[in-house]
Point group: C2
């Protein structure tokens, strides 16, 4: 299979043609564009926060989830822009703000992560059982903190399609991940009521009208900082084993599936890092191109592949972790082993998907 090698010393590698065109047509974007972007994200943050508070106890699960997702979305973009365009911003303010935003989006994201992980694992168990009668609505998000599967009456007939091992494995994962999710929900509620959160919210409220730019920012070209973010991304991608990933069924992802080493798959680390760098590059692109800029679908596909990689990696670790529960039945352990390997193959599939989408992107560049 032909392989495009990314040259880590070439800062234009992977730049989409749309980006170059857009930048060529307008003037060089400067601190004003950054300030406008940050104000818009801060306004979004405050709107999501108001929605979250107003809905309160009366909110449907979906509304609460949407509000929390919007909060995280804005927080990530503000934090990412502060990092990429550091030289244009008041450094004390910026350095104080970033860890607080990271804490916030991390805390708010955990509950959803556990919920999605359980959903992914239960769907996989049903797929592995050859069950076609798995109604999607029973794994849809229910009210936070409650049991994910909601009505026990609907869960029982489904279990009938599973072997004893698969059913027990599902019940064990449900117990463990629902407990983790409930704890994450409490932690998120505590965080939203804390003085630490109010301090962040106050700072974002100020940011919505007043961005602390440096005196030189108004005349500083944003492109070198954005290009540096892209260089960090392409350098990290150049370090990935993309030749291997481009060969289907390379069996690399499961290679430590039974390793005595307890740290879960160090081979995943560089891919997780690329996921974060790709996000930073995407946000920097948003700042430069402004609102209404076309979405780069290939960048989106690459990002989705890396999200899938992360989700499958964490689901595989959760299955392995559940298998270490004392006194489980051998049939349960067997099902968890199959499930772990299945998710590690999802990891491999996601790497292949990333390789394919990234290669396309490079090939299409002028």
């Amino acid at each position: 299979m032909a392989q495009q090698h990314l040259d880590p010393t070439d800062p234009t590698a992977g730049v989409s043609p749309k980006l170059s065109t857009a930048l060529g047509q307008g003037g060089a974007p400067n601190g004003d564009a950054l300030a406008s972007y940050l104000r818009a994200r801060a306004t979004e943050f405050l709107r999501a926060l108001r929605l979250h508070r107003e809905t309160g106890a009366a909110a449907t699960a979906e509304e609460t989830v949407d509000a929390a997702r919007a909060l995280r979305r804005s927080a990530r973009r503000i934090s990412g822009s502060l990092h990429t365009f550091r030289p244009l911003l008041d450094s004390d303010w910026s350095e104080e703000m970033r860890p607080e935003l990271a804490w916030l989006s991390g805390t708010l994201g955990l509950e959803h992560a556990y919920e999605a992980r359980l959903e992914r694992l239960l769907l996989a168990l049903h797929r592995l059982s050859g069950s076609t009668a798995f109604p999607a609505q029973t794994v849809a998000p229910t009210s936070p903190g409650a049991s994910v599967r909601g009505v026990p009456g609907t869960a029982v007939p489904e279990r009938g399609n599973l072997t004893v091992g698969a059913a027990k494995a599902g019940a064990l994962l449900e117990r463990q991940l629902t407990l983790a999710r409930t704890r994450a929900h409490s932690t998120a509620l505590q965080a939203l009521g804390s003085s630490r959160f109010h301090a962040v919210a106050d700072k974002v409220a100020v940011l919505a009208s007043e961005v602390p730019l440096t005196p030189a920012a108004a005349t500083t070209d944003l492109r070198p900082a954005a290009a540096a973010a892209e260089e960090r991304l392409t350098a990290a991608i150049a370090g990935l084993p993309l030749v291997t990933a481009g060969h289907p069924y390379n069996a690399e992802a499961l290679i430590h599936g039974l390793s005595p080493d307890l740290s879960p798959h160090p081979q995943d680390g560089p891919w997780h890092q690329v996921r974060l760098l790709l996000r930073l590059h995407r946000y920097a692109r948003e700042v430069l191109l402004g609102p209404g800029a076309p979405v780069d679908v290939r960048l989106l596909a690459a990002g989705q592949a890396l999200n899938r990689h992360r989700d499958a990696s964490e689901a595989a670790a959760a299955a392995a972790q559940a298998a270490r529960t004392p006194r489980i039945a051998p049939a349960t352990a067997y099902a968890l082993g199959v499930l772990h390997a299945d998710q590690r193959h999802e990891v491999e599939a996601a790497r292949f998907a990333f390789q394919q989408s990234w290669q396309k992107q490079v090939v299409s560049a002028p």
Copy 2:
């Protein structure tokens, strides 16, 4: 991914260009070519049998394995040709001969199959443990009936690289498959000393000088019968889910990995059937083209992919079977679950490899 659809009604589909060229140049092959082919295979059979007997107790494991493989190889080809070119041969003789040859190659093949299965599973366990220090010679064939791993002193330090679960799973599989192999060895020895075997050997001895052709065989064109064998192959391939198989990571092979249905993977059946039909087509091609004909490397690759499919399918079933052993530890069951899923992914990989090689073959046809 583009997909070549095989037309089951087109008897030339999948015919390699080399075959058409070879047939176009010479005269139409008839019963003489078949008789010559059968005599040559019968002679090979007798030579292998002599080797097997002469070496006896003094033989190295390798010599015995080689002799048994040569016996099976000739028996399969005689049996396959009897089937494909049925109308040219004395039907009573042919119908009596075929099941006896099938019994023989089946009985002689079992010991090797168990040995190869154990080797495949132990290698997979080491790969899954991230162990790079797995010396290949410790899984090389040893004397039949003896422990496959041979010297316990060399096995113990290797086990140190495995987790407790992987080591216990390996020991369990070794115990079960070595027992099965020892039994198969005894059965094969009994078979080789039986009057049933002597009757087959006598018939093959006659065949080496005198092929019971029908009176019309000398002027009968072999090509229609060979084309019919190829038609049966292409029709069976047309029934395979090749579009799915051509999409890497389609997750189809593991879909019943935890199914309560105990019959191991009915989805594998059509692939096993194609493997047998491909072999018959290959033998018919040998008859038509005569000795020294070039090997069709793509046909070879397709056959190897189907062998790998069969081996992985049976290894996965052995891992699942071992997991049903009463009173095993959860860690052992977990390792067997990972191993089962790994081998089912090998099944999927083999289907992908077959699709790739078969597609190439069709595309290159004129």
